[in-house]
Point group: C2
Chain length 331, copies 2
Amino acid sequence: MYPNNPENQRFSIVADVGGTNTRIALTTGAQIQQASVQHFANDKFNSFEQLLRSYLKSQQVISCESACIAIATAVNGSSVRLTNRDWLIDRDSIANISGAKQVKLINDYEALALSLNDIPAAQLTPLVEIKDMRHSPQTSFKKMVLGAGTGFNAAQLISDPENLNQQVNCAECGHMTLPITNLQELKLRDYLAARHSRASVERVLSGRGLVQLYQWLCTEKKLSARDLSAAQIAESACADDDPATRESAAIFCRFFARVAGDLALAYLPYGGIYLSGGVTRGLAPMLREAAFMAEFTAKGRQSQLMQSFNIQLITSDNTALIGCAAALPNP
Amino acid sequence: MYPNNPENQRFSIVADVGGTNTRIALTTGAQIQQASVQHFANDKFNSFEQLLRSYLKSQQVISCESACIAIATAVNGSSVRLTNRDWLIDRDSIANISGAKQVKLINDYEALALSLNDIPAAQLTPLVEIKDMRHSPQTSFKKMVLGAGTGFNAAQLISDPENLNQQVNCAECGHMTLPITNLQELKLRDYLAARHSRASVERVLSGRGLVQLYQWLCTEKKLSARDLSAAQIAESACADDDPATRESAAIFCRFFARVAGDLALAYLPYGGIYLSGGVTRGLAPMLREAAFMAEFTAKGRQSQLMQSFNIQLITSDNTALIGCAAALPNP
């Protein structure tokens, strides 16, 4: 069934459980079996266990070697509850269902960071052409991944020069203060804070954030907001077929650029910045417009430094699985 | 002359060149000779070379083994220009003056971070009593230092469990966006941006920032601002002898707490947060008031996480020298 498994090695499982979708695959060692990669909408399942059972059955796999599951929430301990749905992801339960002797749970941005040195070129596209590629030798092995999907987060990968050792710096960047700079943005901040007690970065930089931003803008402009999903707002904005979706997406991209710039100052990722996440990908054409780099580099006396960062967009939705495979527990 | 040098080892030099003052000392190996520690006001010298010559002469030292100089600016290459005065700090020139065979230049926050595992207890005081000391085993070796002095910055120290290997994550956090959340703060932001084209974190969180904050507040309140230095404003605020200095310092501390909280979300320093810097120390009594922790922990769904960070104040001005000694090039 899987051409990359000539010696009939036992499979391991890798999965990336997002807020909305789950990506899952089989590996032999750290090698993902491409034909085994599947996507599922979480809404169609009552639990991760049900999803996992269904997947293993469809793959005709009865027992696995090990498993590494990336989850879009802070991971601490042997079981994790998804924040936006009633799913408990539990190590013992996964071991029971899959037969895996070892099960590892990691944060989804930890998985993305662990993939950064191994992303195939086909899954990357440069955001802009870099004018001033300045690498500091001590620090060129620092990379950063950040992005907007169901929520927002970032992580840093620090590698040694030979790439033998890599370490991830996990974060909770979605909960940082939303960085506003003018009265219009303060109004948006107050609109969000009235609903959520405060306005964090991910109250704008997420799928739900884009929808609320659009609704707020329509209220401000005394337009009646259509009932659009984040994906529909992004599509309409990129097609430039509605001034309200377009302006909402432009404000979103401005915040995204500002936050990316602030995090670049915190992590100094001279080895590269990688943009991930479903909402990010949906807005890719707008992120390539000049306004993004103008805002990203607008850091006063550090503007020249800001121009030295290489920014790439992760075009695949499966990239975190590469990091999960790299993090699989040794058999 | 130096009791800790019984075998008459050759000295090395460590120095911390700030925007305003320079701390300098002799070491034998990585051991700082306490009697040799001296402070100088940079304004009294035309160049770092002049300061260094004068220091070596006063110490009756003709020739040194090696030198590590920490500088309050981004360090890249073999010579560095201080941003706020016309000083060029040059490796070759330091080698010529001191006889050092090897000279290392590092960023001042890199030096502070390198000191974090070795700060004597006498140089630390807890900011608050921690209620919920929750350590994540994988990450408890991450520490963060941040502070306000001539400028603002932060750095992260990542150590392995045996403390054999430590790595610093340098940053340029002073240039991140000033995180404002209400109309009063927006007015302050606009006042600063009118003078500096934008408002970064260090436009408030620095000595000059505190002075401008005070001047802005007096303008807002139609009071005539006194001609006070940052140290005088801090002293008056802590003594609570003037409503204008008191409120300025309270706003400063609120921004400091908010930025410290945001950076804690970016670095997750479960191993501890260390506050450094001259302005920070000047405001220490106010940082211990309840308002600081209230703002630091005000991160919505992450408020409980925020209560798990151990925050300590570095009470000594010489701590960066410990990091310089740890970073001295091997003879």
